[in-house]
Subunit: 369 residues, 2 copies
């Protein structure tokens, strides 16, 4: 893959002087948690990767020096792996915690890290992406706030500076050092800047952005919208079409354009900076999720005419964050006055298809009304 | 392909009452000029397709009822084809002219249509896309203005209302009635609205937008930027990688995000509405040009390490609008004060690679600086 590296000429020169090396504790040994260890390890940091209770077999394989079962790639040998039971001891002196759990695991991670965060403040870099709908206030809550709230329940005095990452990043490609650009955001910009210093490499390019709300919304929304872009490939296949330059790319691109318009409108309505929808966190991450992500493949199955149940079955039990995000957005749209459902006809159709079993029938007419 | 149609249930119901049928004269029988005839014909209009002097063999094939050589698809039988020599007689009573020539053919088309436009004002729908750099003022001129200026030289009293179309639309898919959403724009919004009424079908969804400058800039810029997105697939192939969900999608998507940020900045700096970069004319058309267009394939060849000359050879003499646009932008950036070249590092690299033969080495570092 070296041809894809923008300017890598061996990795040795990346290493900072010894005194800037840090101990990094990554919690969650799934694909993304493990892959984010690669740039940290390439920078020469002491990387400690902790599995959750669900990651036992991954930790076993990695401990044996075998490839990561999801990434199908061995990790740098300097990354040391541990079971979750060792977090409290082995992660105690980490300068930075990295959360690589799924959005469903964020509360578990908060419970595991609260005692350590109570003892000493330090940045928490959240690779997990998602949104929650908070009853009864009817507000959307971004994942760093979910994490922070849970930690504060357990350790009211903890000083917390969660930092979130967004932008195009397929884990399997990060582990192979394919170049990308990502965005780090957080309410404590110094913490985000410190994370940037620790993780930047010639293939992992990092920008710090103050727009926490917009960037995190995009990170979550792209999973919902990539589903609709994926319909096109399935519809084309169902109609007996072969892959090629004449396929259903017009359909796909029209849905992409509408998706980005709706993301832009949502970010704006919810108090974020709409430009975030334009750049890496928005259009960039939407692109990669359509081209290489699970959500795009799930959308293709629905576009091909499979029922919801059959499509989920064909995805082999993969976590489908898009369904969770759509559920949250459906509940949010029912209660908010920030934006009317009529302004989001694509999102409405995705909710109908993916949550209510409606057939795919893209409402293009309302996109141009 | 019927599965891709959003809501087509046969085409008959689309036909408007007889008294709203119109005569449509399309000038240019290349792929796009011919394909745009399909929605007009499906609406029941009297469609007359005129080849340019370069389209003689296409006109011959179509006259024989054979498939269009570029589209590899027969056109609806109601579309009548004529050589350019018959424009003055057969197009005289058209209600609408459609320009389907390449950007290089716009002056020729102006010469051919000026006498007819002098006789009676009517909308001219421009499918052609492009930009010109006007010396010595150092301004960019969008194609509708190039066309209008040339017609006025020849027919100073002609009343002109050029309307331009933008948005995702591969000709081969339009001819097969794959659904899409496009944008019509023009300084005369009533003319744009009339075009919309005449051409809208259940697969060709049309929005009218007043942002002439932004929409036309996007229509041209996407050709330049799709080149850079295409590099990723070539680099991946060169590195021995197979197509799949782990490839160089991160690289591709990071370039896509930067491309859209730069398009947004250019539209804004040149007095357009930046939201145009977000929607169908911007992100939508960029997506389709990357996935199904010539420019994306040309970029892939450059990314794979071919020289400029070899890559052009491998494209088999296809018109590469991207090179023309990059030349125009290079000259423009050298003379303008509207925007600094430093704000457009991706565009700068594309100019270096495609015009000056520099090797591909994406400046990701400056994207996040």
């Amino acid at each position: 893959m070296s041809g894809v590296l923008a300017s890598a000429r061996g990795l040795a020169y990346m290493r900072p002087p010894e005194d800037t090396l840090a101990t990094i504790a990554i919690v969650g040994a799934g694909m993304m948690g493990s892959a984010i260890g690669v740039p940290f390890a390439d920078r020469g940091h002491d990387v400690r990767l902790f599995g959750t209770p669900l990651d036992l077999s991954i930790i076993e394989q990695l401990s044996l020096g075998n490839p990561h079962p999801g990434l199908r790639q061995t990790l740098p040998r300097s990354i040391r792996v541990f079971p979750s039971s060792m977090i409290e001891h082995v992660a105690r002196d980490a300068e930075l915690f990295v959360l690589g759990v799924s959005s469903a695991g964020v509360r578990w991670a908060a419970d595991a890290l609260a005692p350590l965060l109570a003892a000493r403040a330090r940045p928490v870099l959240m690779v997990s992406k998602g949104l929650e709908h908070v009853e009864p206030a009817g507000e959307l809550r971004i994942l760093p706030d979910v994490f922070a709230a849970r930690v504060r329940e357990l350790a009211p005095d903890a000083l917390l500076s969660p930092v979130a990452v967004a932008g195009p990043c397929i884990a399997g490609e990060l582990a192979r050092r394919v170049a990308t650009c990502v965005v780090l955001t957080g309410r404590d910009l110094a913490a985000a800047q410190r994370c940037r210093e620790l993780v930047s490499t010639p293939y992992y390019h990092v920008r710090v952005d103050a727009d926490v709300v917009g960037v995190e919304l995009c990170a979550a929304l792209k999973n919902a919208y990539a589903l609709g872009v994926g319909f096109a490939a399935g519809l084309h296949e169902r109609a007996g079409g072969a892959p090629g330059s004449v396929a259903a790319h017009n359909y796909e691109a029209a849905v992409f354009g509408q998706a980005l318009l709706e993301m832009h409108a949502l970010v704006s309505a919810l108090g974020g900076e709409p430009l975030s929808a334009v750049g890496f966190a928005g259009s960039g991450d939407l692109t990669v999720t359509c081209n290489g992500g699970r959500t795009g493949r799930f959308g293709k199955l629905l576009g091909a005419g499979h029922t919801l149940e059959r499509a989920r079955e064909l995805m082999g039990g993969a976590t489908l964050e898009c369904l969770e995000i759509l559920r949250v957005l459906d509940a949010f749209l029912a209660s908010t006055r920030s934006i009317a459902r009529e302004r989001l006809p694509l999102l409405g159709h995705l909710i109908d298809v993916a949550l209510k079993g409606a057939p795919v029938a893209m409402p293009f007419g309302s996109f141009v009304a």
